[in-house]
Symmetry: C2
């Protein structure tokens, strides 16, 4: 069996372990060990796995439960290769096999100014779910940078209601990470400043 | 032993189970079963538990890792009783024994317009961590509602750099929740709209 075939079988096995809930990660561990992953293996992740990730994203809280989000999944090589021209911090899309474009939908808003917070919570859920499922992902900011917003709007002929918000390239990680300490006592105040 | 004492011992046992990593929750389960909790038992949670929650919040991703956040922990009854006068959707602070005010700090920003997204990811981490640790919590929006922002700024004499962003009342849940379905196929698009 070639190295490529072995990798494909490994990935299929990986997906089954996720589905069977054998490959799992405890929540606090996931939160504390998640890191931005910018290098991915060339084997694609399945659309089943993508669906799991999007379900996690859609479980995010939102203002008045408005859920003002839309998701464009990019797994077409031609489109992924165009992305870095619009969003320079998403250069890894030339290697990544999948990316999720999270968009705000003004037509779904009940509390208009809160859509950014809602979509941010959805992105964070997506990142944590990916990590817990043994995948890597990174949050590339789009909104409120006008060039990026308009670039994606033009690429997909999006209506004015739809605002490209963040891009999440993802896949099987090809990057080592180190444990971090992030807690800063000086950022915590009790009952006043 | 009185019912109150039994509850206190139960809570101490609960805290130890969290610390010993016996009381844990799988990440995807936490994401899918987390709900807004607005009713809390009267027994306070320990500051050790609050520290765990804030550590989770501080592990959120942020633009260029700027971490532009500050946290004011409210566990003084007099202050908690004032909160609903500023933020009507946080009326449960009259019963809650703890709430965390998440603030943006302009003095820490490298990418000024991204602080809302960074703080939102921190709030989502806090909510998921609380749920995984067997606690309940709710996201009460403050920013960008001017009355709420200015109300909290005045209450704590905050400098212009500090923007009250969201309030998270939390504690031992006194509320039942039902499983939800949130995945919406129609929100997912592939390689275009």
């Amino acid at each position: 069996m070639s190295r490529g075939s072995i990798q494909i079988y490994t990935n299929i096995a990986h997906d089954y372990l996720v589905k069977l809930k054998v490959l799992v990660m405890e929540t606090l561990e996931a939160i504390k060990t998640r890191r931005s992953i910018r290098k991915f293996k060339k084997e694609p992740i399945s659309r089943d796995m993508v669906k799991e990730l999007l379900e996690a994203a859609m479980f995010a809280p939102s203002a008045g439960n408005e859920q003002p989000w839309q998701f464009i999944v990019l797994d077409d090589r031609k489109i992924l290769d165009i992305v870095p021209n619009i969003c320079s911090t998403a250069a890894m899309c030339r290697q990544a096999t999948t990316a999720v474009l999270v968009c705000g939908d003004a037509g779904l808003e009940k509390y208009p100014e809160f859509w950014v917070q809602d979509c941010s919570a959805a992105v964070e859920n997506l990142l944590l779910a990916a990590h817990a499922m043994g995948l890597g992902a990174v949050w590339a900011g789009i909104y409120p940078l006008k060039d990026r917003v308009e670039g994606f709007r033009k690429l997909f002929s999006l209506s004015d209601d739809i605002t490209p918000f963040a891009l999440v390239p993802l896949g099987y990680s090809d990057q080592e990470t180190n444990p971090q300490k992030r807690y800063k006592e000086e950022r915590v105040h009790y009952n006043g400043w």
